[in-house]
């Protein structure tokens, strides 16, 4: 045989395009492949084996990454740090420390959010949530729905599903939302001067979605979000009238 098996292997792996083999050798192998069916089969077998090995271990890539691995990347920073501008996240952290006393947020949601954000690619410019100077903020369709959509008037086809609206102890209005078309991403957003800040996110549970869409009554909320609401809510959730009133005052306390 004119070429060694290792050389043919490297050729099949496209290794020879770089500095390891000159163009003359590559074309000599190509010519050999064209004229010798045995060489052609050998190169083909290497290529098939390569594809086969890739395919056999792909399954793990679609598994959810365990929380503990995401946590190991967090160190002392709040979660947004890993994703956005550090100073912005520091500011967000300070503000959160001042305004929020949501231990659940850091403990439960932090590592979760990294995964959710990556998994749902919500950092894209057209995404419903952006990482901004003040943390995670609703934008686009989510911002619009949080501001204008009443839970009572929802259509099954609405892109955003609103669940509970409620006030927290500071008086801010918060609303739970779900995005059925984004892996049932669900979260809590609270109205602040510069918009709706998203404070918790969870991957919704598709099994609980009814055919009319995600109604998200309390019982249908992901547990992680329900626990946060229970800890933070002031009084009862808003009824339809109270929701309308809150909307009329643009969700300002």
């Amino acid at each position: 045989m004119k070429f060694s098996s290792e050389l043919l292997m490297a050729y099949a792996d496209d290794e020879l395009a770089g500095d390891r083999l000159d163009a003359a050798t590559r074309s000599a192998i190509a010519a050999e492949i064209a004229s010798d069916p045995q060489i052609a089969r050998q190169v083909q077998a290497f290529r098939e084996q390569h594809a086969q090995m890739r395919a056999a271990f792909d399954g793990v890539l679609s598994e959810p990454v365990p929380d503990r691995l995401l946590k190991s990347l967090q160190t002392t920073q709040p979660v947004a740090v890993a994703l956005g501008d550090l100073n912005a996240a520091r500011v967000a952290k300070r503000e959160r420390a001042r305004r929020w006393s949501w231990p659940q947020f850091s403990a439960i949601a932090a590592s979760l959010i990294v995964g959710i954000i990556l998994g749902n690619r919500i950092l894209q410019p057209t995404a419903p949530i952006r990482v901004s100077g003040s943390g995670l903020t609703a934008q686009g369709s989510l911002d619009h729905a949080l501001t204008t959509q009443l839970a009572a008037d929802q259509q099954p086809t609405d892109v955003v599903r609103l669940g509970l609206s409620f006030q927290i102890r500071s008086g801010e209005y918060c609303r739970t939302f779900a995005l059925p078309k984004q892996n049932n991403l669900a979260g809590i957003a609270c109205r602040q001067d510069d918009g709706w800040h998203v404070h918790s996110l969870s991957n919704g549970e598709p099994g609980r979605q009814n055919s009319a869409g995600y109604r998200m009554a309390g019982s249908e909320l992901p547990d992680s979000l329900r626990r946060i609401i229970e800890a933070q809510i002031s009084g009862e959730p808003l009824d339809a009238n109270a929701e309308r009133t809150a909307r009329a005052q643009n969700w300002r306390r």
Binding site: E6, E15, Q52, R54, D58, L73, Q77, D85
Partner: protein
């Protein structure tokens, strides 16, 4: 920017699924694999300053993992035989199909390879590293990498044809 490593951390988060895959082919155990990823990420975090942007981040992480695994195996002080590979199928779901049965056969064959061949096959064929990068990860000359890869591939083909797995 007070932390120059924000983007780097983000990139490592994105690599996690691949790190888990490499860890599984290397350790052949689910639990060991995730422990190894965790340990390696923790190590990497403390040396982000040593990261050279000229290098591939995946290769850098793989190298940290390989070294961590070798340390771990040494410190356990067990022989390789004690690390009996898990049942094949560790990489795929419950439902079975021809394709998945075949994947299981491939995994089983892979776990039968000696470490040095399995690492080479994993880095080049599964993780898609160029030979040169794989050689750097394994701290061996490229010629050594090439011959381990060639022997590993030959053994795989042999194992798969013996086991009745489709050879291609």
């Amino acid at each position: 920017m007070s932390d120059p490593h924000v983007q780097l951390r983000h990139s490592i988060v994105e690599l996690l699924p691949r790190l888990r895959r490499f860890a599984r082919t290397m350790t052949r155990h689910h639990a060991d694999a995730d422990d190894l990823v965790q340990l390696s990420v923790e190590r990497a975090i403390t040396r982000l300053d040593q990261w050279n942007p000229q290098l591939r981040l995946d290769g850098w992480m793989f190298k940290i993992m390989k070294n961590a695994w070798i340390d771990e195996v040494r410190s356990r002080g067990r022989s390789r035989e004690i690390f009996a590979p898990e049942e094949a199928g560790a990489f795929i779901g419950d439902t079975s199909s021809d394709q998945q049965l075949h994947a299981m056969a491939v995994q089983k064959a892979m776990s039968a390879l000696p470490d040095e061949q399995r690492f080479a096959v994993s880095l080049v064929l599964v993780e898609g590293l160029p030979y040169k990068e794989a050689a750097v990860v394994l701290d061996i000359p490229i010629g050594t990498l090439t011959s381990r890869l060639a022997r590993g591939r030959e053994a795989l083909q042999q194992l798969l044809s013996d086991s009745g797995g489709r050879p291609q």
